[in-house]
Symmetry: C2
């Protein structure tokens, strides 16, 4: 009996050697970023905290950007990632449609975040920067950047939201294994941190405050830059490696996708899948592109489109995006990566121009399909990824009802092994 391989694997040498820049193709062009007071913001102003090569990428009009060799070598650690036919999940659902998942959980950090972390570390390195500062909530981004900093021999300090650090010490352990310095935020290291501690010595911290601390450090030290794990154009650019590989793999399997799904927090995972298919859709290909967000933080389904701040403190540039407003406080849901009040400008533009559509999923629905996936594919998905998984399953079930057979692809953006507290149930 031949053994079936459900994974569509690309050889190492077929890692895409370029990123795809969607900026020149957007039907709704992005407005310029503005200073927090609403005045014009020259791109060069971003160089206070980002290296010039990344600022160039942020506003580039080049449709294709070559991936430098040192980044390709780092990607080769785990890329290309497999596109897997979820046959047992299909059987458990009772559908004739074909369900595929792109397994980004196989990266050294366990999520897609490594795709941009390595690129950002490289560009900072060649720009002569020797240290990075960043923030992390649950720790996925901090872990990815700590690994990337180690790979390119950069120092790194991670401001980790204090309450997350107390509740989930494990990602800090990995960051420490990588020689990253992890500080509980608020910290004594910055004005923002000291002010917060003066007000409340037991402050649990917040992602907004941790961002302020990391940005303050980067702005005040010439050897240090800031790195962000989502939202910005250059971050989405680096993630387009995902969608490009999916395209090659679907072609190998002779499949045309009817529906593509990724979860949406800041937008980098979703953008990474969607962007390589945008030109096809603009040319008339009938592929539905869905952004799965939690009903508890419905940025794309219920937010307003316009200029808004990226952080609660209103210190970031104003960007054109869907937003629930910087004062929106999402309930404490398990999918920590999907609690952002805003959205990436690129994703917002794709939604605005109806190239892609948002769908909201409840935590209960996400959990239900998590169980089904774990029990059929034997992988525990990250809580964020389970939102995309749920939408993909519901799509396949809807097709079944209509008597239709389709092809749906979702991104398993990460594994849930470091977020198992999200899936805990009481002892029987």
């Amino acid at each position: 009996m031949p053994l079936i391989d459900d994974a569509i694997s690309l050889p190492k040498d077929q890692i895409p050697r370029q990123w795809l820049n969607v900026l020149p193709h957007l039907p709704v062009p992005l407005g310029p970023y503005k200073a927090p007071d609403g005045s014009d913001l020259p791109p060069a102003a971003l160089e206070a905290i980002f290296p010039p090569n990344l600022v160039d990428q942020e506003f580039s009009d080049q449709p294709i950007i070559a991936i430098p060799e040192p980044i390709l070598e780092a990607y080769a650690m785990w890329r290309p990632t497999p596109l897997v036919r979820a046959r047992r999940l299909e059987k458990a659902l009772g559908v004739k449609s074909r369900v595929y998942y792109k397994n980004e959980s196989l990266s050294p950090s366990g999520s897609h975040k490594s795709n941009t972390a390595l690129a950002q570390a490289y560009y900072n390195k060649v720009a002569g920067v020797s240290r990075l500062a960043t923030e992390t909530g649950a720790g996925q981004w901090g872990t990815a950047l700590a690994i990337a900093a180690r790979w390119f021999d950069l120092g790194i300090r991670v401001y980790m939201v204090k309450v997350s650090l107390d509740q989930k010490p494990y990602r800090r352990t990995i960051m420490n294994l990588m020689e990253a310095e992890v500080l509980a935020s608020p910290s004594q290291m910055t004005n923002a941190g000291r002010a917060a501690l003066a007000k409340d010595p037991n402050s649990p911290g917040s992602l907004g405050l941790a961002i302020s601390e990391a940005v303050e450090e980067a702005a005040s030290r010439s050897d240090t830059n800031y790195a962000l794990g989502s939202v910005l154009n250059h971050v989405l650019l680096h993630q387009t490696i995902i969608g490009q590989e999916v395209k090659l793999q679907l072609a190998l399997a002779n499949e045309t996708p009817d529906c593509l799904v990724a979860c949406h927090g800041g937008g980098s995972n979703f953008g990474g899948l969607a962007v390589p298919f945008v030109l096809d859709v603009l040319k008339g290909q009938k592929t539905e592109i869905l952004a799965a967000e939690p009903t508890a933080c419905p940025t794309l389904t219920k937010g307003a489109y316009g200029y808004d701040y990226g952080d609660t403190a209103r210190l970031t540039p104003l960007m054109p995006m869907y937003s629930l407003g910087p004062d929106f406080v999402p309930p404490s849901i398990h999918a920590g990566g999907l609690r952002y009040h805003g959205a990436s400008p690129i994703v917002s533009s794709l939604i605005k121009s109806k190239i892609a559509s948002p769908v909201a999923v409840s935590a209960d629905e996400a959990y239900r399909y998590t169980r089904l996936f774990a029990q059929s594919e034997y992988i525990v998905p990250a809580p964020e990824s389970s939102h995309a998984l749920a939408i993909a399953c519901q799509k396949a079930l809807a097709w079944e009802k209509e008597g239709r057979v389709g092809v749906v692809v979702f991104v398993l953006s990460g594994h849930g092994l470091l977020d198992l507290s999200a899936y805990e149930s009481p002892l029987p």
Copy 2:
């Protein structure tokens, strides 16, 4: 520039289709198992808790045993696993020798335990059993068997040592996702558990007690069998898939191994690597086979060879093995899987006849190489695996001093993502 693939991958279809039984080849034949009172134990007595097909394997004289198709299909979920050249680790060590690791951490349970868990679940299924009972300490075995039970549609109850359950709830979460019933041991479910609770309602439990509970349940219910994750001959048999793949992969890379290393707890991981090379060594091949154990539980380096009990309560059969005595209480070391007072009879025989040699590693040394491995290969090894890793690194360093270039292979038996508390360090 061509991208280098450090992984030696076998295609799905080259999963070995047989296990290798070392029993007919042992220069020091195993004595028969004896009843706890020292009297003769007929093999059929084991059928009170094991299915007849596994009891047959336990005492088989067949050198090769075909793997049934349904188990091969399950193995195909993740096997063959890659044999990876650890180039960056070699560089970090500064050695010209070649270091390879067999990555068993890619299984659905994150360790090599799935190799036998799936086989045992299958053989119980075809024997008409509908439920399994087992014990687990840190949870690696319980997780593997829960997944296997789900795959073959068996019920399962896992007695998990109470103190481990309290300290590491995460593996229970995965077991629950698989619909396994997880009970804190001591439990109210068995005589052994009730007696322990009567004596001390706050008993933290022990592995020995959890074994007693699971065995009692299996012996008292006709629908239920017991499953053990290491030590026994049939368990080692199933793990020989590891060493067979390593052999095929080394041949693909045109390499002859000078040294093979695996960690040793009960012996299944070590036996799985070693057994397929035993005939070569008996024929004169100069391959050193090393069992890495912790200095804190030096069963093979300091234990005595003879008949001894497998458990503290002296309820198991007497088996011929190296042992520190059933009353040996190892200090609480992080590598929970390496705290067993005894050793598998097969491994004991290999050591006794000098086909393989034991080496002890301190926890500090293991941790030092864990950091080095994490910082060069970007994988967090299981605390157990780090003992094999340390010996492999020390071997390569010793060769370098001698001006020699060798090939050393170690088994990365599991990842450490669910054991990160073992690697925690204080905040700076």
